[in-house]
């Protein structure tokens, strides 16, 4: 799927996933995954729950060994604790009494993996303040992280990931559990970071739509299979039907994309089948 222009600059890829398969307890969770991410690119990893997105992240982070294939990060083979990669995990559930302020969480991004107690307060404080400014979260600096809203926590975790100056930022479902306003703000922030700091952003999501305005490329995942390319290349009925192994339709409504499965064949799709009148009786029957 990669075009000739990509091959020329392959050596510069910040992430090169080549033919990665992962077997977990007798099941193939990832099958021959291959794609590349270039510096400063904004890439979406789209797929429903259980499609293998988190497993792929764990492979890239060096926490899960690939059964076959190879992964190069910044041109080098994988290691655990790769300083090139910043990581924002799925929603963290924090009790409000957790004794960590936003600034403490960001500071842990600087040296949370080190032994001993932190020294050099002034320098740390300056670096943390600058990073909180960069994600527009300075005013949250002294608030308990457990008392922040979902979107605010995401900003703080993004600052935590960015403070060690990574070149690739992995975010696992950062938009889950956010309201629409916070969703848009987080996406805009990430797009700005990718553009201004030339950090490649690789973000997983189950819905492609919030990412459409900012995404350079996407990796679409279904049942452990993947397709990658630009939105126009990947989000097509032929590509997605092959991926899902069943017929899939792609509907575009006011610049948004709906991926709909389950119809018999390409010609059998009509809007009547999915509108309220047709499904009404089933809903009534369920009561």
């Amino acid at each position: 799927m990669s075009g000739p222009t990509l091959d020329e600059s392959a050596d510069d890829a910040i992430l090169d996933v080549d033919g990665v398969s992962v077997w977990l307890s007798g099941r193939e969770v990832l099958h021959d995954v291959r794609f590349r991410i270039m510096p400063g690119e904004f890439t979406g990893l789209i797929g429903s729950n259980g499609a293998g997105k988190t497993t792929l992240f764990r492979v890239i982070l060096g926490l899960q060994a690939a059964s076959t294939g190879s992964v190069l990060v910044g041109g080098r083979p994988l290691t655990r604790r790769n300083p090139i990669i910043g990581y924002v995990p799925q929603k963290i559930f924090l009790d409000p009494d957790m004794p960590l302020r936003a600034r403490d969480v960001v500071a842990l991004g600087l040296d949370g993996h080190r032994l001993g107690v932190p020294l050099g307060w002034g320098r740390r404080r300056k670096a943390v303040d600058a990073m909180l400014d960069a994600v527009d979260a300075r005013r949250l600096a002294d608030a308990r992280v457990g008392s922040l809203s979902g979107g605010e926590q995401q900003r703080v975790l993004i600052a935590h990931a960015l403070i060690s100056r990574p070149r690739l930022l992995l975010l696992d479902e950062p938009l889950a559990n956010l309201d629409i306003g916070a969703e848009g703000e987080v996406v805009a922030l990430l797009a700005r970071i990718a553009r201004e700091q030339r950090i490649a952003v690789f973000i997983s999501a189950h819905d492609v739509n919030p990412l459409l305005p900012v995404m350079d490329r996407l990796v679409y995942m279904a049942a452990g299979n993947t397709a990658s390319g630009t939105t126009a290349e990947v989000i097509r009925p032929e590509v997605l039907s092959a991926l899902y192994g069943q017929h899939v339709d792609v509907l575009r409504v006011h610049g948004r994309i709906l991926v709909v499965a389950g119809a018999e064949g390409p010609s059998g799709v009509t809007f009547e089948e999915t509108d309220g009148a047709a499904v009404g009786p089933d809903i009534v029957a369920l009561r």
């Binding site: 009790d95 009494d97 957790m98 949370g112 993996h113 032994l115």
Partner: protein, 313 residues
């Protein structure tokens, strides 16, 4: 002023050797359990901590049978139990709870046997009460160097692992991705917790040990939002509870029934619980006042964030 002091400190308090020993041992142990206990609370391991204390009663009673100080028994079996919990516990919280419960049950079974043997061999039930509910005035002076050394080692290990512990308490996934050996750190912490719980068991008894490990830290978390601050405040609250408990227990010698002091452990645990309730009330009042304050001065803080003036929470 001197009258208040005289009312608080019964005659002979400052001249008594057992009181001196209790004040020193109690302070050292309260400090360590308070500091170590902060991570017990934020890692959600209060049940494991409680189990380690109770299981310790099997070791304490066995040590008594063998003529050794109960502390060594408490600690030996608590560390073994911590290892078993980690080994059986897998990584799911529910499996961990079940493993903890199983180890707890097995340990208490042993305690039932050893305490029975203790009581029959010494033909007194005093030892049972001492093992289970502690007796700070009876802690042997000879144990002081060991207690101080164990405390120092625990605090040192905690200082070395401090940042990794914080990061893995925040999110094990995040810590693992940063290259923190999450499992090893977890085991190291369980061992430190086992030592702290054993020290608490030696002073206020195996069953009440959790009160000292969980109470002051939980109280501190209501009062401070800084990680370092929580450690200091938890340690101080523990020391105050133990010292005040010692004073009241000494005073209670003159309370009814006259001539029989009430147990120190009772006072310590009661004070720990009282402090927790008071801290909750204080936190609520502070919060309410702050809210009223911020409503009076609308959103001046938001001016620090020029790009998104509207999204101040």
């Amino acid at each position: 002023m001197s009258q208040v002091l005289r009312a608080l400190f019964a005659p002979g308090f400052f001249a008594s050797d057992p009181v001196h020993a209790a004040l020193v041992v109690g302070a050292v142990v309260a400090l360590v359990t308070g500091v170590v206990g902060v991570f017990t609370v934020i890692r959600g391991q209060a049940f494991a901590g409680h189990a380690l204390g109770e299981v310790g009663s099997a070791g304490g009673s066995a040590a008594f049978l063998g003529g050794a100080n109960p502390l060594w028994g408490f600690m030996g079996i608590a560390i073994v139990a911590a290892g078993l919990i980690e080994l059986l516990g897998l990584h799911r919280p529910r499996a961990r709870d079940v493993a903890t419960g199983l180890v707890l049950g097995a340990g208490l079974g042993l305690a039932a046997l050893f305490l029975y043997l203790d009581a029959t061999s010494s033909s007194t039930t005093g030892v049972t009460v001492t093992i289970l509910f502690g007796s700070l005035f009876a802690v042997s002076q000879q144990m002081l160097p060991s207690i101080v050394a164990l405390s120092a080692v625990s605090l040192l290990v905690l200082a070395v692992c401090y940042r990794m512990l914080l990061l893995s308490s925040l999110s094990p996934d995040l810590a693992a991705a940063r290259g923190v050996p999450v499992r090893a750190i977890g085991i190291a912490y369980l061992v430190i917790m086992a030592v702290a719980v054993s020290l608490a068991a030696e002073t206020i008894g195996a069953i009440l040990a959790t009160a000292l490990v969980v109470g002051p830290p939980a109280t501190a978390l209501r009062l401070t939002k800084r990680p370092g601050g929580a450690l200091v405040v938890a340690g101080l609250i523990g020391v105050v509870a133990v010292w005040l408990g010692i004073v009241l227990a000494y005073d209670s010698y003159y309370w009814p029934p006259a001539g029989h002091g009430w147990p120190v452990s009772f006072f310590v645990v009661a004070l720990v619980f009282l402090f927790y309730l008071v801290a909750g009330a204080v936190a609520r009042i502070v919060q309410a006042r702050r809210r009223r304050h911020s409503e009076a001065a609308p959103r001046l803080a938001a001016s620090g964030c020029a790009e998104h003036p509207g999204d101040a929470a």
